[in-house]
């Protein structure tokens, strides 16, 4: 279990992917290791562990955070969404669907983080420009796609969502 020796634990209550949890986490434990090792949510990836690459991105109260450098203890009372929670109803979101049709996934390591930051963007800015999308992606590194397919998928998903909302 995460949480180094000599670390006292602290009790937290939070909501993850619409489920309530009460957990005892280590004082220096990160949200990422809590999600992966205590809740078996392996969507958020562990890569740099320095807050630089975005592979571990999840949404906290709707906003993207690097879970690898976020203290689990400070998520008390918060609502967290991981990539597993996107298709909560069993159906892919418009964004996920667009990733499939645009082949925006290659090795897939960055995908969970990229999907989360773009989910937040589309919530915030329903009709984003290409520059908006690229700016939102600044903190999620993809070494495979060159980003083009990801950007196109995001713009396409935005239009689909706008059409769905107005029809």
């Amino acid at each position: 279990m995460p949480g180094a020796a000599g670390e006292q634990s602290v009790s937290i209550r939070l909501i993850v992917n619409e489920r309530r949890h009460q957990l005892d986490v280590g004082a220096g434990e990160t949200l990422l290791s809590m999600l992966r090792e205590r809740l078996s949510l392996l969507g958020p990836k562990e890569a740099c562990c320095e807050g630089e690459c975005g592979a571990c991105t999840v949404l906290m109260d709707g906003a993207p955070v690097a879970s690898c450098i976020l203290a689990a203890g400070s998520t008390n009372g918060r609502t967290v969404l991981t990539v597993e929670g996107l298709a909560g109803t069993g159906e892919l979101t418009a964004l996920q669907q667009a990733f499939v049709s645009h082949a925006a996934v290659q090795c897939g390591y960055c995908t969970p983080g990229v999907l989360m930051v773009l989910t937040a963007l589309l919530e915030d800015t329903p009709d984003p420009s290409e520059a908006d999308v690229r700016r939102a992606l600044a903190g999620t590194i993809c070494r495979c796609t060159g980003y083009q397919q990801i950007v196109e998928a995001a713009l396409d998903a935005a239009q689909l969502m706008i059409r769905a909302a107005t029809s």
Binding site: E50, G51, P64, I69, S74, N76, A120
Partner: protein, 288 residues
């Protein structure tokens, strides 16, 4: 290590006086957690202040803007009050790291960490930021300039908490902005950054100038000699000649012999001119 969650300023200063130098304040944690994970810091207690509601607000108090220590960079970048009254601060907050960082990183954390490359600090300096520091034995006020005594070493006492930052908003016929240069256009630390606040009289004479820089080895600071070089200058055809001020800025803000300082000396004058141009254009009736 203990994790102490506090709910109020009173609880926070209690914990701080209990732990002293053994305690470390945790706000957004974007500096504290990586340092802890790398084993660079091993405090006996993390004092989590992120849940203190009283430190989250942005408000107008008298003529000033009061910003709670826990206001996040994302909020600084997007709040209309900040964009209107403190555009340099909004611009600076928007270029710190990525969205993921801005979501949790706080203005108080930037001030107390006092990194030489902290983008928000020059913007706070040109707004003449005044800090309110509280401890069990009372409170004191101090200007940000005084507070930033050395790199990573501020005037903050181990038992003190930064509560709020008071800023002087832009006045009439004034404008301000922030520009940085990093190695890539997003995510990177500032190699050099400049904030400028400029006020102009109705007859287009520069009446007040504030210039602050970050990057380099010193903590962010104002550059009075460069400011003095601009005061009293007459705008000609809506343009401000920054040649002398730029040269002053370069030699005063990057005096070291190192190559990195030489680079900063080269880019600083150009950054100042670009900023001045932007500011003049932003002061209505002057740039035209």
């Amino acid at each position: 290590m203990r994790f102490c969650r506090v709910r109020s300023v009173a609880e926070a200063v209690d914990e701080l006086s209990r732990w002293g130098t053994e305690g470390r304040i945790l706000a957004g944690g974007t500096d504290v957690m990586p340092q802890h994970l790398r084993g660079e810091q091993s405090p006996a207690a993390l004092i989590d202040i992120s849940g203190i509601d009283g430190l989250q607000g942005i408000s107008e108090v008298g003529g000033a803007t009061s910003v709670g220590a826990l206001v996040t960079l994302r909020r600084l970048a997007t709040a209309s009050l900040v964009q209107l009254r403190h555009p340099a601060l909004a611009q600076a907050a928007a270029v710190v790291g990525a969205w993921q960082t801005q979501t949790v990183a706080t203005v108080g954390g930037n001030v107390c960490t006092a990194a030489p490359w902290a983008d928000t600090l020059p913007a706070l300096l040109v707004a003449d930021a005044q800090l309110t520091l509280v401890s069990k034995s009372g409170r004191r006020r101090m200007s940000l300039g005084e507070f930033l005594a050395g790199p990573g070493a501020t005037a903050l006492r181990p038992t003190e908490l930064l509560r709020a930052i008071e800023l002087e908003p832009l006045g009439e016929r004034s404008a301000e902005g922030y520009i940085k240069v990093g190695r890539r256009s997003a995510m990177d630390l500032a190699v050099v950054g400049v904030a400028l606040r400029l006020s102009v009289t109705p007859s287009s004479v520069v009446s007040d100038v504030r210039i602050a820089v970050c990057g380099g080895t010193r903590p962010p600071h104002r550059v009075p000699s460069a400011e003095a070089a601009l005061v009293g200058t007459q705008l000609v055809d809506g343009r401000l000649d920054c040649t002398e001020a730029g040269a002053e800025l370069a030699s005063a803000a990057a005096p070291e012999r190192a190559k990195a300082a030489e680079y900063r000396r080269r880019v600083l004058p150009g950054l100042l001119s670009r900023l001045a141009e932007r500011c003049v254009a932003g002061i209505s009736g002057v740039g035209s």
